[in-house]
């Protein structure tokens, strides 16, 4: 069983990195082996090429990138729920991600 990789993207990669920490905490709490990282919209393609994540999650403020990524990628791509994003609810976002990876 390989580690699941979750990639988050927002405008500058700053606010998503806050969420990464919260998600990692809740992953530890439920004993799930995941690797979670965040990057900026401008670096997204590089990271997709090098890291091969299992899922790509977009911050709500860059949801306009959704269609483009969905068209080009085979992995699930989705926009993080606004409220979960604002309240940095790592547990909810992680649950959603794991559900989508399947």
């Amino acid at each position: 069983m390989t580690t699941k990789k979750i990639m988050l993207v927002c405008s500058a990669g700053m606010s998503t990195s806050l969420l990464v920490k919260k998600m990692q905490e809740s992953a530890v709490a439920i004993g799930e082996e995941v690797s979670i990282f965040a990057t900026s919209a401008s670096d997204a393609q590089n990271k997709l090429d090098s890291e091969h994540p299992n899922i790509l999650m977009l911050g709500p403020q860059v949801k306009y990138l959704l269609s483009d990524f969905q068209r080009r990628l085979t992995i699930p791509v989705e926009v993080i729920n606004m409220q979960d994003y604002g309240l940095m609810n790592g547990k909810n976002v992680l649950t959603q991600a794991l559900k989508d990876i399947g």
């Binding site: 927002c10 405008s11 500058a12 700053m14 606010s15 806050l18 900026s40 919209a41 401008s42 670096d43 393609q45 911050g59 709500p60 403020q61 860059v62 949801k63 306009y64 990138l65 269609s67 483009d68 080009r72 606004m82 409220q83 994003y85 604002g86 309240l87 940095m88």
Partner: protein, 444 residues
């Protein structure tokens, strides 16, 4: 929604605005432009640091000839950053555009963009030799004035155009030389793109030669005078800039990041102003502009877009709601570094009509206050590009190369902002409280 067919005009306009912005956000050339700026930002930030060290720190520890010698360090940095902004931008844009369009070998378009930019440079230059007063005509050199901040748009446009031409040509099957056989793939790749490269660069050279022979001009001068300067003058005028900036910030109240508009329309031209200010400060000349991107960040983005640090302070002091206080404590630490998505999506500002008003207007007021104090000469102009994550108060001090009066102005803006956000915060909390009460009634 039962009345979805009867959408109000206001809602329609909002939807149109969101759709349009999403299209701008996703448009590949504009996205590549923003990506490129993100990529080369460290260079300009280094230039800012070097300007600070050269003009604030070094004079404290040295004087006379040894100071001049020390300052060579910063001047060299300026040469390799600000003074070649256009030269750096062209290949970076070529690269990001190729990458965003899914072109296999993105480095090749970058090289073509760079080569094209040099191809369209003026053939001879009027220069003043060191120590002379008269200009002389010389050929065989490139000048910092064309490669640097003044040539930034030339770098952008040539980078986009050359890359676009090349990629279109390389899609044409008939132009591919196929050597086949057992040659290494990279060798055959270099051959397969050979004709598109040749055509692209030859076309650029032809354009350049025609302009020189027929018009006694060059593409750099044309782009700078016909596109860059009119755009820059309008977009960095006080009303023009405030209008565009407010549109971008309004977009954020609909949940889409403001860089979609501001990063495209404002950042390039405000950065030109910033870089010219830095260069002027480094050369001890008069500072040309008040409005720059760092000026905007420092006085109109205190704690992030919408100057939401003012809202956080208002919540900490005056709010009685636990939910608000929770969001504020979560958003406090990132807010100090001007990261405020937790406030925008968590408080929330998005789709929260009372909060949209101060969120859009407070930046305008902040910029106007700072503009006023700068234009009457009471505080220094912004001469140092600092990272946008620099905390408030420190940011005003550093951006003005150590002017404490700028810190006072920033403090004044924050105090005003707290007072301005407060009534809207109260309205918003009353609405939330009423909704919660209604919801609990329904469930009982």
């Amino acid at each position: 929604m039962d009345n979805s067919e009867k959408k109000s005009t206001g809602k329609k306009v909002l939807d149109k605005f969101s759709d349009f912005s999403a299209r701008v956000g996703n448009e590949v050339h504009l996205r590549s432009l923003r990506d490129s700026f993100a990529m080369i930002m460290p260079l300009f930030i280094l230039a800012g640091v070097a300007v600070l060290i050269n003009n604030v720190i070094f004079p404290l520890i040295a004087s006379g000839n040894s100071l001049v010698n020390l300052q060579f360090w910063g001047n060299m940095v300026t040469n390799g950053t600000l003074n070649i902004a256009g030269l750096v931008l062209a290949p970076v844009i070529g690269y990001t555009l190729a990458r965003n369009k899914g072109f296999e070998n993105a480095l090749l378009p970058a090289v073509i963009a760079l080569s094209s930019l040099v191809i369209v440079m003026p053939f001879t230059l009027n220069v003043i030799p060191v120590g002379a007063t008269k200009t002389v005509n010389v050929s065989g050199i490139l000048s910092f004035s064309n490669l640097g901040t003044t040539g930034m748009f030339a770098g952008i446009i040539i980078g986009l155009v050359a890359t676009e031409i090349f990629m279109r040509l390389s899609k044409i099957k008939h132009l591919k030389i196929n050597i086949g056989g057992n040659v290494p793939p990279s060798v055959s790749a270099s051959f397969s793109d050979m004709i598109p490269v040749i055509i692209t660069l030859s076309f650029m050279a032809l354009l350049s030669a025609l302009l020189l022979v027929l018009g006694k001009t060059n593409l750099i001068a044309l782009i700078t005078n016909l596109i860059q300067e009119p755009l820059r003058r309008f977009n960095t005028s006080l009303p023009g800039m405030l209008f565009i900036y407010s549109c971008g910030n309004f977009l954020f109240t609909l949940g889409i990041h403001q860089t979609v508009i501001n990063g495209t329309l404002l950042d390039p031209v405000l950065l030109i102003n910033m870089n010219k200010n830095m260069a002027a400060y480094a050369a001890h000349k008069a500072i040309p502009y008040i409005l720059t991107n760092t000026f905007r960040d420092t006085f109109g983005m205190i704690g992030g877009t919408g100057s939401t640090l003012c809202l956080l302070i208002a919540i900490f002091i005056f709010s009685k709601q636990r939910a608000s206080k929770n969001v504020a404590s979560l958003a406090g630490a990132p807010g100090i570094f001007n990261i405020n998505e937790p406030v925008i999506f968590g408080y929330p500002i998005v789709f929260n009509i009372p909060m949209m008003i101060p969120f859009v207007l407070q930046p305008v007021i902040g910029i106007l206050i700072a503009y006023f104090f700068t234009s009457i000469g009471w505080m220094s102009r912004v001469v140092v590009l600092i990272p946008w994550t620099t905390p408030p108060l420190l940011s005003a001090y550093l951006a003005t190369a150590g002017d404490w009066r700028a810190v006072l102005v920033q403090l004044l803006i924050i105090i005003f902002g707290v007072a301005f956000y407060l009534p809207f915060m109260k309205i918003s909390e009353r609405v939330v409280a009423r909704e919660t009460a209604l919801a609990s009634k329904k469930t009982v």
